[in-house]
Symmetry: C2
Subunit: 675 residues, 2 copies
């Protein structure tokens, strides 16, 4: 503990500070030198008198035996790594959080739909273009309501390469590259406005699934609410993902039109059900708002029926229809109309108990678990039975002509768990875990064969604090769950934390699901930065992130060397062409070169900036006061900003990272001469 | 652990779900009912086999005895509260973080300079006006570089009422009200562009201190860099704070002009030095950039001199000058010119060893500690000696005519600590703690009399990982430090955490400074959401935040009931006046009333929204897809949004909080008919 074993590269080893030493470090020197001065420690030799032993601390802090074991199970010593990483949404925060497990420490916030200046996201540079990709009919939309992160998969297991996340409020999907943990793309779904049933990926990330929640006319155009039944529509979207490019390809994507039921969650089939996808739905009543017009409240009108519809989609078949040209193009997007989907065996419905909120495919791909939040059971559908029912062909249709398979023929089991069952995850022991919103509890229940001999039944319920929405088990929605840990994403925290005003954090609780032990809450983790909905938990070692960019001059948008990169000191320059001033700049400890730029008011400025550092963690920021510009340039990175120098004056620019002892001197002046 | 002791108010007690029960809950009912079903637990009775005892866990996880005690010292059990709260800046993240100590959990992010949609900050509503207060010459500036949070003080102690924070990049100060933890005001300093020496408060929060860093001509106007010495100026600002209004009052604030030295940090005098303030400075060389013109790099040019200048300001005297009209008004702001400040005994300089970075007044107000980052000592100035030197009157002046007091006459002690000393904090035992940037260590040293008998000397150094900038001890910059804990704000983390791409978190390390024990690192806390600079740590019980807003219809901007609040269901309404549609809406579980709004393209929409809930944690969001609008309405809150319905179409709006089992049904449609 008293040893300073590892030292970052820019530390200085001399006993006396010399300016030369500091400047040498600035230029990348460093090697020499571990500090002698560390041995100058003058530890007091008095024996500790207060709380220095475990027993004393336990007594002073009044820790229970359960507190002690929980502390020991979750503490991660300095320099040791967490075993798992949890990627969660932040709801209307619009971002993604990365926590370490078991410590539950927040390791990173990834900016996605909302600008975030620490990452330089949306404050100049290529990230502005990423955000512009998500504009809505030309209007800047600079937030999102993220719900369901989806890690890319290979053979139904997380491969640690990409992360997708949806924006419920504006109908968008974002792509995050897990080499640098940056958002690379936002696509706006041109058919819908509001969505919920995304992101979920097919087992090899062929497609990213997204569906509408609150139906609108296709394309979001205007239609009177009284024409809801005739003109409003649901949309099940299959976004094609190109792993080489690291981008969703809208031209190779397609959607399936449905009746205007509100789609909720989705899951992709795998194993025997590979090639299929499942969405549940609510408001199959086709209720519309209109309190002022005398209509009942939506919460009443949408919960009249005892059954809603599980949507069962054969996407392999849909691909064939697209290849055969059996689609229409609406707002530039390929759409299989619902009569075609029904006729061609692409879309089936199955009744599901009322107002379901979760649909989850078992690890083997053989069952689909639906939780009806107004029904105390989980309902387990057998994929084999669904296939038999389809083959049998004795179905009715809904009022739009979509086949409705008989409930009894498709169901394998129903398990009574408690009040408000929502979402289900799995472990490596053949158990399932379902969140119970109204009970504020997690239900553990056993899967029937081939998973376990004990059959489909409730095993145990663990109270959580409070009102759990989604839950996430370690790799618990993949083909090979990891077990051991589960996180309850509780929507309210109420009295769990010190009062910090009327807006309370949510409460993510780490739960042990170790085999042959009762479940137990190990740790309370406040989320005071958004409203996490779903999360996925991945083994840390599956992530193979870059420590620095592969080459100097790297453009993270193209993931290649930028033609405007400046690769070494001395190549920086300024060019003036009429009313355009173009600057090629280089950043290193502790200089931004060139450090003096003078332009005239009204000039267009194009400023290329390259961080030529190769040391891990040697990030430089670039802030230009008064111009709403801030970049984060990680080692090797190149970015370009463009703006019009419309405000005259004297504007300092500087590095926003505390990157060396002389970081305050890493600055320059941008002078705009009035015209 | 298995008992569900406390339940939030909207949980349902019935064994069977009834729609009536849910809707009753929606309307605020709830009382009845603790769940019988919780006793249905079916715990497996097998004895635990894996790591269920403390000894087993310690062995499996290979925890050292130090790890064990650190785990026990930092773990906060579910439902128990942290003892301290740490308010830290996020650097170019532009926000404020609130962590709990000793758990180091992130409890809340407070949006300040950057929009943040979870808090509804900058996405419609009154917070847009707060952000507009910080616009720069009419240009939206939607981020900041926060450095130094300052809690309001009474008699030199934190009073838990307000928090101030600066924006280095754009020269701004924000005011946060700790009743609701929301930013209420952003003021732009009209004299400067870039600043660093803020926020620091006087002992009764009479003033919030702010000073420029990179000098510009007063008001930030254009002047050639070659006229730096003649036309560029420093600015020491005293922002008047009105505690009743909870606002800074620019008209009652003033500034003191200085030579164009770069001001760094500040501290206010207290006790015997009450009425005085201190700023240190760098670049007293008056160096200017110009690499392309053949000038040396700023990191070299600004570090030529062996001494820079501590600025000593008599602000009580400055108040008298203002009252006497001895000021000029520049950009609407009162400025005491430097010749007047020099002549009237308001401004003095004292040499300080080279390129200092921290200035900190001791708890008793009797000494001023300066750390010269290129000098291995801390230099301790005696306030009494400074007063004697002023009285003696035998000073020289700098080249601008400002008195320079003799170094030797003002210094009490110099203590050699190590390489790169920066900032100093204090404990309750008479010790000081100084961060050593280049050593990557914390130095503990004893204060001389009246604090300790052992005299001014180094006691101990603790290595930290890596490159500590600021540090914060519990109430460690107040008149009564609390001791026990200190947090090292390390700028680099290098190898401390799992690799999540080239942008690494910073590393805040919790350090025990318990009396009569060696210092030790207890906990590593990654900060993956910004670059914290300074922090202040306050006893939790000093914060008296509201749990809900005081009355239904509360406007958090005016902190009073809003005239457009709707106080009960049934009073909601829509009014149309020509091209204006005004809506008075009410939110409750699970309805937004009215739920159907139809306007014509081009209409101006004024939408008042009131959350009439009175239950703690019953926050509702309000999102309007496609219009970049999201509010967070805490219990009792009223907000108003205004926009032009310029895009035709069908737009769902909904509550973005998971506020009840039927939260998905808390929605409506906003229809914009094309014209
Ligand atoms: Cu830098
Ligand atoms: Cu709500």
């Amino acid at each position: 503990m008293a040893e300073n074993r590892e030292r970052p590269p820019f530390q200085i080893g001399q006993q006396k500070v010399s300016r030369r030493g500091l400047l040498g470090a600035a230029a990348g020197l460093s090697a020499g030198a571990l500090l002698a001065s560390c041995s100058v420690l003058q530890r007091k030799e008095e024996t500790p008198k207060l709380g220095a032993t475990a027993e004393e601390i336990i007594k002073q802090r009044q820790l229970t035996p359960e507190d002690v074991t929980a502390a020991l199970m979750t503490y991660v010593p300095s320099g040791k790594y967490d075993e798992f990483l949890m990627f969660s949404s932040t709801g209307h925060g619009g971002q993604v959080l990365v926590h370490g497990l078991p410590s539950m420490r927040l390791l990173k916030v990834i900016a996605v739909f909302s600008p975030e200046p620490w990452q330089g996201y949306g404050y100049g540079g290529y990230t502005n273009e990423v955000l512009e990709g998500g504009y809505f009919k030309g209007k800047p939309i600079l937030w999102g309501d993220t719900h369901h992160p989806a890690l890319s998969e290979t053979n139904g297991e997380y491969d640690g390469e990409f992360l997708f996340i949806n924006d419920k409020a504006n109908g968008r999907i974002a792509v995050i590259d897990l080499r640098d943990f940056e958002t690379k793309q936002i696509v706006k779904n041109p058919l819908l406005v509001n969505e919920h049933g995304g992101c979920f990926v097919t087992p090899n990330t062929e497609y990213v699934l997204e569906a509408d929640q609150y139906s609108v006319p296709l394309g979001g155009v205007y239609a009177p609410i009284t024409e809801y039944k005739e003109k409003y529509r649901g949309v099940l979207t299959f976004w094609k993902f190109d792993r080489q490019k690291g981008r969703i390809v809208p031209e190779e994507s397609f959607a399936i039109e449905t009746p205007p039921y509100w789609h909720d969650l989705a899951d992709a089939g795998k194993g025997p059900s590979h090639g299929w996808a499942f969405w549940n739905s609510i408001n199959t009543e086709l209720a519309i708002p209109g309190l002022q017009e005398g209509r009942p409240a939506m919460e009443i009108a949408t919960t009249q029926r005892d059954m809603d519809y599980l949507h069962v989609v054969n996407w392999k078949k849909a691909e064939e229809l697209i290849a055969a040209g059996k689609y229409e193009t609406i707002n530039g997007f390929k759409v299989i109309r619902m009569d075609v989907a029904a006729k061609e065996g692409v879309l089936f419905l199955i009744p599901e108990p009322k107002s379901p909120h979760g649909v989850d495919v078992t690890p083997g791909g053989d069952y689909i678990v639906v939780a009806g939040k107004l029904d105390p059971h989980v309902t387990v559908y057998s994929f084999a039975k669904i296939q038999q029912a389809i083959q049998a062909g004795n179905w009715d249709t809904d009022e739009y002509g979509i086949p409705v398979l008989p409930f009894e023929q498709c169901v394998e089991a129903q398990v009574e768990l408690g009040l408000g069952p929502l979402h289900t995850q799995f472990d490596d022991q053949g158990y399932a875990y379902t969140s119970l919103f109204l009970d504020s509890a997690v239900a553990k229940w056993s899967l029937g064969k081939p998973y376990r001999e004990d059959g489909w039944k409730l095993v145990e319920k663990l109270p959580v604090q409070y009102n759990i929405g989604h839950l996430a088990a370690a790799e618990g929605d993949t083909a090979k769950p990891a077990g051991r840990f589960l996180v309850a994403h509780n929507k309210w925290s109420v009295d769990r934390y010190a009062s910090l005003g009327p807006l309370l954090p949510q409460n993510a609780q780490l739960i042990s699901i170790a085999p042959n032990q009762p479940m137990r809450v190990l740790y309370d983790s406040p989320i005071g930065i958004g409203e996490p909905h779903y999360a996925q938990i991945i083994k840390r070692e599956r992530i193979k992130a870059w420590e620095i960019y592969p080459e100097v001059g790297w453009n993270p948008h193209t993931q290649s060397v930028d033609p405007n990169a400046v690769l070494k000191v001395g190549d920086e320059r300024i060019e003036r062409r009429g009313k355009t001033v173009e600057i090629w700049a280089v950043l290193l400890r502790s200089q931004i070169r060139p450090d003096l730029i003078e332009v005239e008011q009204g000039d267009e400025v194009i400023w290329h900036l390259t961080n030529i550092e190769r040391a891990k963690d040697a990030t430089h920021g670039f802030a230009l006061g008064g111009y709403n510009i801030n970049l984060s340039l990680e080692p090797g990175e190149t970015q370009t900003i463009r703006f019009v120098a419309d405000i005259p004056g004297t504007f300092p620019f500087y590095c926003t990272e505390f990157c060396s002892a002389l970081h305050l001197e890493m600055m320059g002046y941008f002078l705009v001469k009035p015209t």
